[in-house]
Symmetry: C2
Subunit: 310 residues, 2 copies
């Protein structure tokens, strides 16, 4: 059973109540507390030593990443973050200065996005550093964007450049909150997700939730310089395009746009966010799964995110 | 530096914003999202293998405890819980059935209190099970009860019986949500906290936050049968009264009541909650620290929670 099948099985049985608009399974849960114009967004995410960062990572980078992951999830719902609570599990020999640095890294990013940190629980975790952040925010009732509302005919867009984030971007990425808000305010974005599991994996989340397929144009997929350099240094490894499809933790926005809005969006984007690339990489189609088209023709991506060349 | 000094130092520097009514340092954070009658409560808490439960503990009890601790914190603010998100860190060899049981134990308690579980993050934690729960709820604007508002002259009350919770109650305790709501609706409760660090430790949190002291009557402190049995089996160990003062994880309510309301409360309580003991154990006084009075006279409790007999 994969992580996603496990979560799917468990979340079917979770208790709900009348406040729940969207429960587990999207980037954030959506709750209706009776606010006139807004719904509440609620999300938790964690970073663990040895899984999401190495033992020798700078603690301020680890703290920043723990919050940034949640902010990226809130961006994927076109939400505005408000307040976070933090649980930090620490091995017994941990130094106070390092805890302070974790909070410092988190605090700089929180201030940048107007997020209050309103609770900090510290406990012992014998196995290493474990940070869990829960984030609360809001979204205007009219502009909530889910994973499940992509439609055949939509164009597929991605921000930034993908792949190779393990060389540094997984610590330094910028949650795309301003970009997502602007998109939701000005365009008919049908579905959106942030890229944490890799382009192929996260696109598949949208496709499954929306019961559609996608066709991507290989040459249109934006490849990060880090992925190109990794391939150059080690020619026997994956191609940069495969890295762009498969690598996790890009934390860019992947979204689908109503047909006919693509040219208008690309024009407006260049003026609004001149330093961030936006790429139209394909379209949503009826059916299921991902087809990647290159000069040799269409090829199907298999379930593990790899291009199946058979 | 103790855990509390550490948290105090860190929380002074945390970023805030205009939604924050009460930040880190009380049982829950309090946020104003612009709801007409209500404020939002936000809390995170965690349970860790080897710290809050042993390796062989039943997973459904561990799941229940993880949520129950947060519910108890919400009770301490006279709040109503609404929705929770859960992060579970698991060692690599963990069985799916056990994850299901963690959620089952949590789910039964969640349903009982009308709480939706709206997000479940599962990750690897090489050192053992680590569960972090974040809980969202509301409280009526007019009846928010903090730790910092005890006044000299208040009576000090505690629900239930204290001590010896490590023999089982730390898993099976009932969060006092209904009791706290009823108290806030019907009486002038000035300050409240739930007992997680032990009567002496948690009373000290109220006293420090409110800049007051307390005088307790030793014979009035309600002692749990578990604490009495532990002392009987091992006569060289602490007395049952010391266990009641010092043992953690009772998860009862400790609160201070406006002068003159005590008799009325005790009468009404017996009718409303006939199966749960309520004890008046002393009073709030000017000054600082805790004095315990027994037949030999008043004695001061020292900083570590022990009666100082010198």
């Amino acid at each position: 059973m994969t992580e996603f099948e496990l979560i799917a099985k468990l979340t079917k049985k979770l208790p709900a109540n009348q406040t729940v608009v969207v429960g587990a399974g999207d980037d954030c849960a959506v709750l209706d507390f009776g606010l006139r114009d807004k719904l509440i967004l609620f999300k938790t995410d964690s970073v663990v030593e040895g899984i999401h960062f190495e033992k020798d990572a700078a603690p301020e980078k680890v703290g920043r990443k723990a919050l940034a992951r949640c902010l990226s999830d809130m961006a994927a719902m076109a939400g505005t973050p408000t307040a976070a609570v933090v649980t930090i599990g620490l091995p017994g020999n941990f130094k106070f200065e390092s805890i302070e640095k974790i909070y410092e890294g988190m605090g700089v990013l929180a201030k940048k996005h107007g997020v209050a940190i309103v609770g900090g629980e510290t406990t012992t975790n014998p196995g290493g550093i474990f940070i869990s952040v829960a984030l609360l925010g809001t979204v205007n009732r009219g502009r909530l964007i889910l994973r499940s509302t992509a439609k055949a005919g939509d164009a597929v867009f991605v921000t930034g450049e993908l792949g190779g984030s393990s060389t540094g971007k997984h610590f330094d990425f910028e949650p795309r909150l301003a970009e997502a808000s602007w998109l939701a305010d000005n365009f008919q974005v049908h579905a959106m997700i942030d890229l944490s599991d890799g382009l192929a994996g996260d696109l598949r989340h949208i496709l499954k939730a929306s019961s559609v397929g996608a066709e991507l144009l290989k040459s249109a997929i934006p490849v990060n310089r880090a992925a190109k350099e990794l391939a150059r240094k080690n020619p026997s490894s994956r191609t940069p395009h495969r890295a762009a499809l498969e690598d996790g933790e890009d934390f860019e926005l992947l979204f689908t746009l109503a047909p006919g809005e693509s040219v208008k969006l690309l024009d407006a984007w260049r003026k609004q966010f001149p330093s961030l690339k936006l790429s139209c990489i394909g379209k949503i189609i009826a059916g299921e799964g991902i087809i990647v088209r290159d000069k040799t023709g269409p090829q199907k991506l298999n379930a593990h995110g790899y291009v199946h060349f058979a």
